[in-house]
């Protein structure tokens, strides 16, 4: 198995071999779907015969000796012959005709009958990769995961730094306590959640931040440093005094030694990180919607607001970016609309209604319900050219990779300031499909039984961090549950980290709930 290929390909690499090889890949190995080929012809692109659609092409891909199509079918590279590998039909052909090369129709590998093994010729590999990418694009699949191959520079670095850290099941990498610097648990709890956000961790540990800020006050650099501390393997608690100082500098409303709100800190931190990241791209964009920093990539979703005029039924739609979803709770002064227990959301997310306990999906259903804006809140309708009553409905247009739900437990109304301790049960796995704008559209088109795409995994989320608040509004304490390996949870209480059970996590009150998309696609 030599990476330099084999000498027997030279006989093949004559005349128009590259184009011939491409055609083989396009037609028989990495072929597109029936619809895309037809579309391609209609758009006046490649003049491919429409007849070469998938079902027909599948028919032509059979062994010329036995008619089977599932026995590791190979195509001869020198003539039009298909043969089974398993039954050695292609081997017979190779021997009889002295055609030494064949291609595996399933994976595109090139087999040499003289070397008696699959060979890897650089030029042919290149063509294979290109054709595969083209086919994926045609199918609308986009870029797929391919394993990492180190560059020369990276190999050099690896040789110069021989120390390696192996992640085993029980290792405590990434876990580290944080000293409380005087009512700073509101900051500590968020730091724990952020340092255990998988994508954010990967971004910082692969050193992707290239700082262009002149001063020493870049919060992204500090975040990077924080990740280094957390994943260093040190077990003593970290003292985040520099972080605290930077927060006081950039978010003055959070400065001071009083207890602050963890949710406010989260939003402020994301905002500062987002602003400092923007300086990275060199694009000091005036348009905040044009940012592609890591914060936006991970946390930013799109919330669609549809306002429907009750008279002409015209709909006015706006989409606003969001970093979190704040949900009202029953027991607050804003009425929690009476919802029947169960219904789409809950059965989908398998939540139990223990004696009528409110669930997260109940809160989401309430959040996305159509709300009638009363006669005192008429909207100017562009269709009717006058003020009319309307209904407003919120749905998710675009889901972020990390969805943060904020349960509004702190009530700050004119008269009272209090904490709402209502228990809200939340699931380990969450499906956001019922709350999507697209689901609402299909509901409106009369498809009440939503044809759920059973293979669509886009809206599935997994819980990975829970921030809890114990105590009252005046004196309280924040702690965080974080998920380390797949099913190992830990409780982070300032400097003290202890192992927690899934039950501990799910039974907790819940203030900020962090969910991560289960399946990630490349753009």
């Amino acid at each position: 198995m030599s990476p330099a290929g084999c000498p027997h390909v030279n006989g093949f690499k004559v005349d128009n071999w590259k184009q011939n090889l491409r055609v083989i890949y396009q037609c028989f190995v990495w072929s597109g779907s029936a619809e895309t080929r037809k579309r391609k012809k209609e758009e006046g692109g490649d003049p491919q015969p429409v007849a070469l659609s998938r079902p027909l092409q599948a028919k032509s891909c059979i062994c010329h000796m036995c008619g089977a199509h599932l026995n590791r079918l190979h195509s001869c590279l020198s003539c039009v012959f298909f043969g089974c590998f398993t039954k050695k039909h292609i081997h017979e052909h190779a021997k009889n005709k002295r055609h030494n090369l064949a291609i595996d129709l399933l994976y595109g590998g090139i087999y040499c009958f003289v070397c008696q093994d699959y060979i890897y010729d650089k030029d042919m590999e290149q063509i294979a990769k290109e054709e595969q990418r083209k086919a994926w694009k045609l199918q609308g699949v986009g870029e797929k995961y391919s394993t990492w191959e180190p560059t020369k520079r990276e190999l050099e670095l690896l040789r110069h730094n021989p120390k390696r850290r192996k992640i085993t099941t029980n290792c405590t990498i990434g876990l580290r306590g944080l000293i409380n610097l005087g009512n700073t648990c509101f900051m500590n709890c968020i730091v724990q959640a952020l340092t255990h956000t998988p994508l954010l961790r990967d971004f910082f540990l692969s050193d992707r931040h290239k700082c262009e800020m002149q001063s020493n006050s870049c919060l992204v650099c500090e975040m990077s440093q924080l990740f280094q501390e957390f994943y260093s393997g040190h077990r003593s608690p970290h003292i985040p005094f520099r972080l605290l100082h930077l927060v006081w500098t950039h978010a003055r409303h959070l400065a001071g030694y009083e207890q602050q709100d963890a949710h406010e800190f989260l939003i402020a931190a994301l905002d500062v990180l987002h602003r400092h990241c923007k300086d990275d791209n060199g694009k000091k964009a005036n348009n905040p919607n044009n940012c592609n920093c890591i914060i936006d990539q991970i946390f930013t979703g799109g919330l669609q607001s549809d306002v429907t005029c009750q008279v002409c039924h015209g709909v006015s739609t706006t989409i606003d970016p969001f970093w979190d979803i704040s949900l009202d709770l029953p027991g607050s002064s804003t009425p929690f609309w009476p919802l029947s227990p169960g219904g789409d959301g809950s059965t989908l997310n398998g939540e139990s209604h223990l004696s009528g306990a409110t669930t997260l999906t109940d809160c989401l259903r309430r959040f996305t319900r159509p709300e009638h804006l009363g006669s005192s809140a008429k909207i100017k309708c562009s269709g009717c050219h006058s003020y009319q009553e309307s209904t407003k409905q919120l749905t998710m247009k675009k889901l972020p990779i990390v969805a943060c739900f904020h349960l509004k437990r702190f009530e700050h109304s004119a008269k009272l300031r209090r904490k709402i301790p209502t228990y809200v049960s939340f699931p380990l796995e969450l499906d956001m499909t019922p709350f999507m704008a697209s689901s609402k559209e299909s509901r409106m088109n009369g498809q009440y039984q939503q044809s759920v795409d059973v293979f669509n995994n886009d809206n599935k989320y997994s819980l990975f961090a829970v921030v809890n608040h114990q105590g009252t509004l005046e004196s309280g304490h924040y702690t965080t549950f974080i998920r380390q390996h797949k099913d190992q949870w830990f409780k982070c209480d300032d400097a003290v980290i202890t192992k927690a059970s899934i039950k501990d996590v799910l039974d907790s009150e819940g203030y900020l709930l962090f969910y991560h998309k289960q399946f990630l696609e490349y753009e």
Partner: protein, 91 residues
Amino acid sequence: KTDQLYGHYCSCLFWLNHRLKELLRAKLTECGWRDQLKAHCKDVIKEKGLEHVTVEDLVVEITPKGRVLVPDSVKKELLQRIRAFLAQHAT
């Protein structure tokens, strides 16, 4: 009408062929099956020696093991998904 049916048939094939495969791939990666087999491949290579081992050696060793190692939970879930899909799309 036949055009419609044919189109429907093609798109069902597409979904089954691509989406189902993708789902299976994801499930097998998730449950560690892929890693297990990768580790087994490495063992075979070590045993036979890097210079002498062929793809065929690996195929012979890995295929039966791979079949056995698929967890029941994955099989069950795939079946469920296929049933649900067919229930929805059967005309």
